[in-house]
């Protein structure tokens, strides 16, 4: 068992340089290395901006996502994430992908509660499995390393005038007894930080409805139907964008928004931003550095609303 120093002490001030000890283990997960590359980019940028050192887990592997636990009584879904917990060397680990976050927490829970699994894990890793590292999702992470007050100070209400639909989806809060994050029936953790950017974040009734999860390939109609409703409600309530922290949700809401329009004859154009991208914009980073131009649905109107550089709107134009 390696020594872990308690990490509640001496959280880095936003913007200040920090000691190596304060670094966080970083688990990008598969999506962030491909389809959700912009999520990875924006997260690293914002973390750096806030003076947080990230230490990517050495030779990390896929968390197994949904398919693993669905097979063979679930232990595959425990051991795959376990390997990453085992190789995470810091007190705290941040997993921006909510799917990975969910699997890592589940794995942690199962290991802690099952002798049998601990034995299995030891057989695999050839030593007692390390799993105590604190697993944080993106929202928890930012809430930890900065505070609404500090943030507000820095951003000077840059995002004033926007009304953002906070979208948590399923896996960040469920199952409640394992995730114990926020209130499973009414998560609110994104709000304080978003409000600090000067934006509004009114109650979004679909904040924790499901977007259709990984059914996109196998049963697309489920995704299109579920995501359509989420987008339409956000649109009907006049939100400027949907904010998510989940690559899969993003894929369903953004990448497939075109498919939704052609399937239902709708003409939705609801930008879907990653939580990290919103913080990035608030901190004054460039939209295309944050990978906002990588989205399918143009965020031009939104960017104009907050008076963001014209060059970006250019790029966005040719895209859509």
């Amino acid at each position: 068992m390696i020594e872990r120093k308690n990490n509640t002490a001496g959280m880095p001030e936003a913007g200040s340089g920090t000691q190596a000890d304060d670094a966080y283990s970083y688990f990008p997960g598969c999506s962030l290395t491909s389809s959700a590359g912009e999520y990875d980019v924006s997260f690293r940028l914002v973390a750096r901006e806030l003076g947080i050192r990230l230490e990517e887990i050495e030779d990390w592997n896929c968390c197994g996502a949904s398919p693993a636990p669905h097979h063979w009584g679930g232990n595959l879904g425990v051991l795959l994430p376990a390997r990453n917990l085992h190789h995470a060397m810091r007190d705290s680990l941040v997993a921006p992908c909510v799917g990975c976050y969910n699997r890592l927490k589940n794995s942690q829970y199962e290991i802690a509660n099952s002798e049998e699994i601990r034995i299995q894990a030891e057989r695999v890793f050839g030593e007692p499995v390390r799993y105590e590292t604190e697993v944080l999702n993106l929202v928890e992470f930012f809430a930890r390393v900065t505070s609404p007050e500090k943030l507000a100070e820095r951003v000077q209400g840059r995002l004033a005038g926007l009304n953002l639909a906070t979208y948590y989806g399923c896996l960040m809060t469920r199952p409640a007894k394992i995730m114990n994050f926020d209130n499973a029936r009414n998560p609110v953790s994104m709000k304080p930080l978003l409000k600090a950017t000067g934006a509004d974040a009114d109650h979004f009734p679909f904040k924790s409805e499901c977007c259709g999860s990984y059914m996109g390939l196998a049963r697309k109609e489920i995704v299109l139907r579920a995501s359509r409703r989420i987008i339409e409600v956000a649109d009907d309530m006049g939100f400027d964008a949907i904010v998510t922290a989940c690559p899969l949700c993003h894929q369903n809401l953004d990448l497939r928004q075109g498919q939704i329009n052609s399937a239902f004859g709708t003409s939705l154009a609801m930008p879907v931003l990653y939580f990290s991208q919103v913080l990035g914009l608030a901190l004054g980073l460039e939209a295309d550095d944050l990978g906002i131009d990588a989205h399918m649905v143009s965020a031009r109107r939104l960017l104009e609303k907050i008076g963001h550089g014209a060059d970006i709107t250019q790029k966005q134009a040719e895209v859509s």
Binding site: P205, V233, D236
Partner: protein, 652 residues
């Protein structure tokens, strides 16, 4: 010493898991036991006669009865042995049902335990002494707490029997929740038409003194002799001057929430709750009054023709003696907002509670009886009713049924159709609970004659949709998801005990459940009594109830009070402390711990000052018994020797 042991079989309730014959044969071998037998039903007439005969034939001096809980029937059997010419306190009753046969399935274990329990009883019985109840005079004055329909009914019944009653109500008017209802199920009687006359009667009754804006602060004493502090809160209005002309309300510039109308519409800082309020007296709420916020205004004082305004008025503490208390503190609607974010958590103006809707339907309500969407005042066409909000929902800690929701929804669905003929009501329900007289027929009418569409299922989500509300639910009968575009959604919110009920219960020393509803003494046989002598229950403070049940219970409580106070004196329990004055060293530790001030100093002939127990004040808690350094103040019926004997024998 001749002890008789009787083992009740209670049919199979006891005999099912306890081999009573074994218990009897074990009993026969216990010291001083000269007689032992089983009884099939000891509480039945033949059962009691069997005991009586045995006592006389075997000239028994003590009786040990192993049966149900003494909390249930002890008094019954004390009376039984008295008929056999025995002192009632020579009976020891032990519990082999609730605390043995009903909680074990292994017959041998249960039987062994029963034998231990009987041995314990016999041991204690050896220490029994004849006791003789004392007598105390009772105060013929009744306190009724809560001026809803239950409180009013109790007060009137008691007052009609010639006993003086003080009716305390914390809000500015009596009438309670019933006064807010438009119509009542299943007859569709106009609620205020039947209640208002009773309110007036209560006000005018020569034996009833009404105290509004008042709350019970402290309760001292005991059955027959309570001494109670009541705080009358300052209202800045001199009650006997105010004529209820309402000019002050008209002219008052200070807006304030309308509590009586459940938040529908606005009221004034100084106001009379509603036109039929009793008493018809204005109340000023400082937290909204400019005079108090800004320090200047004084409009009401200027305009009042009766010079009834007094900004300096202060709370008044009234202390009176009472012989009995009736708690009728009623209920409040459960505050659903925190628990149901999926229904908007209170953020959608057109999702309202059943009580708010009731006020809308009422001709005397803020909308003059016109049903309007709070958001835009439009007349709703599609009205969705959602059952069981904060009822039958363990996930929000409210597992119980509100017992009236199904009925008032049916009523409101009917009234909706009457108000808006081209409207359509949709009712989501889990089960229709319509058990009262004419109730089932009523819910049928709502569907058959008034076209309400009932869907069996719970609503999962409500959200704003193109200026209306989308209701996502299930129709479990067809097995499908259903969605309804609604103009107005009415939540059938469940019952909660009224704010501060638990606190009041503690002041009165009565027990209450986790939802702060008051506990009756016995669910079947003592439904209006509490475990504290002289304190009775009426209405929804004991649990969700509709109007007929509340009124019935109110009259029942009245009958109990009248019965209690019909005697000039009350028997006090003889199980009180008693000082062995030859051994008392006069350190008065007993007086320090006594909650009732029942210890007095007594100077003996030899000049020694010793402690003396005032029997009429002692409630028999036994605190002094333990506190006394030389241990010379035994509690009769629970002496150290008796308890030690119990312990020794039970562990044998």
């Amino acid at each position: 010493m001749r002890i008789g042991v009787f083992v009740c079989q209670c049919g199979t309730n006891i005999a099912g898991t306890v081999t009573t014959d074994k218990v009897v044969s074990a009993a026969t071998s216990m010291r001083d036991v000269v007689h032992a037998e089983t009884l099939q039903y000891s509480c039945s007439d033949p059962g009691q006669r069997q005991i009586l005969e045995a006592v006389q034939k075997k000239s028994l001096t003590r009786v040990v009865l192993a049966a149900c809980s003494p909390r249930m029937h002890e008094t019954t059997f004390r009376r039984a042995v008295t008929r056999a010419g025995m002192n009632p306190f020579m009976l020891e009753m032990v519990n082999i049902r609730e605390q043995c046969s009903w909680i074990h399935s292994d017959i041998d274990q249960a039987t062994d335990k029963a034998i231990d329990i009987v041995r314990k009883g016999v041991a204690k019985a050896r220490g029994l002494k004849p006791l003789f109840p004392g007598r105390v005079p009772v105060t013929k004055h009744v306190l009724v707490i809560g001026g809803g329909v239950a409180g009013i009914q109790t007060a009137l019944d008691i007052a009609d029997a010639g006993l003086p009653v003080t009716l305390v109500e914390k809000s500015p008017t009596i009438g309670g929740n019933m006064a807010r209802l438009d119509k009542t199920f299943p007859t569709l009687d106009c609620s205020s038409c039947i209640l208002t006359p009773r309110m007036v009667e209560a006000k005018q009754h020569e034996n009833i003194s009404l105290m509004v804006n008042s709350e019970v602060e402290k309760v001292r004493g005991y059955i027959g002799n309570f001494e109670i502090d009541i705080r009358k809160k300052a209202t800045c209005v001199i009650e006997d001057r105010c004529t209820g002309c309402m000019i002050c309300q008209e002219k008052c510039p200070g807006k304030a929430p309308d509590d009586f109308n459940a938040g529908v519409g606005l009221s004034k800082a100084i106001s009379i709750s509603f036109p039929q309020a009793v008493p018809m007296v204005a109340t000023l709420r400082k937290e909204y009054c400019r005079q108090f916020i800004k320090g200047k205004c004084g409009v009401c004082k200027k305009v009042c023709p009766a010079d009834a305004i007094d900004y300096e008025q202060e709370d008044v503490m009234v202390t009176e003696k009472f012989g009995a208390i009736v708690a009728a503190t009623g209920y409040e609607l459960y505050d659903w907002r925190e628990a149901y974010p999926d229904y908007g958590g209170g953020q959608y103006p057109d999702v309202i509670t059943s009580l708010q809707y009731e006020r809308m339907l009422s001709a005397s309500g803020p909308t003059g009886g016109h049903v309007q969407r709070p958001s835009d005042g439009a007349e709703p066409k599609n009205v969705v009713f959602v059952s069981c909000v904060g009822s039958r929902d363990e996930s929000v800690g409210r597992p119980f049924c509100c017992s009236v929701g199904c009925m008032y929804i049916a009523k409101q669905a009917i009234l909706t159709k009457e108000h808006i003929p081209d409207s359509q009501s949709y009712v989501f329900y889990i089960d229709i609970r319509a058990t009262g007289k004419g109730y089932e027929e009523f819910t049928r009418r709502a569907q058959k004659e008034f076209g309400a569409l009932y869907l069996r299922g719970r609503v999962g989500k409500i959200y704003p949709w193109h200026g209306r509300l989308m209701v996502m639910g299930t129709d479990t009968l067809s097995g499908d998801q259903v969605e309804i575009e609604a103009d107005l959604v009415v939540l059938a919110t469940g019952f909660a005990a009224s704010t501060g009920a638990g606190e009041l219960a503690r002041r009165m020393n009565i027990s209450y459940d986790q939802y702060e509803f008051f506990n009756e003494s016995h669910p079947k046989l003592r439904p209006v009594e509490t475990n504290t002598g002289g304190v009775f229950l009426a209405g929804a403070c004991q649990g969700p109830k509709d109007i007929p049940d509340s009124v019935a219970q109110a009259s029942a409580a009245a009958a109990k009070v009248i019965g209690l106070l019909s005697k000039g004196e009350l028997e006090t329990s003889p199980m009180v402390a008693e000082v062995n004055q030859t051994a008392c060293v006069g350190r008065f530790k007993c007086r320090e711990v006594c909650p009732y001030g029942a210890i007095e100093e007594l100077e003996l002939r030899d000049g020694r000052v010793v402690a003396n127990v005032i029997d009429s004040l002692c409630q028999g808690c036994g605190l002094c018994n333990v506190a006394c350094p030389p241990a010379v103040i035994p509690l009769k019926g629970y002496t150290d020797n008796q308890l030690i004997a119990e312990v020794v024998e039970v562990l044998r």
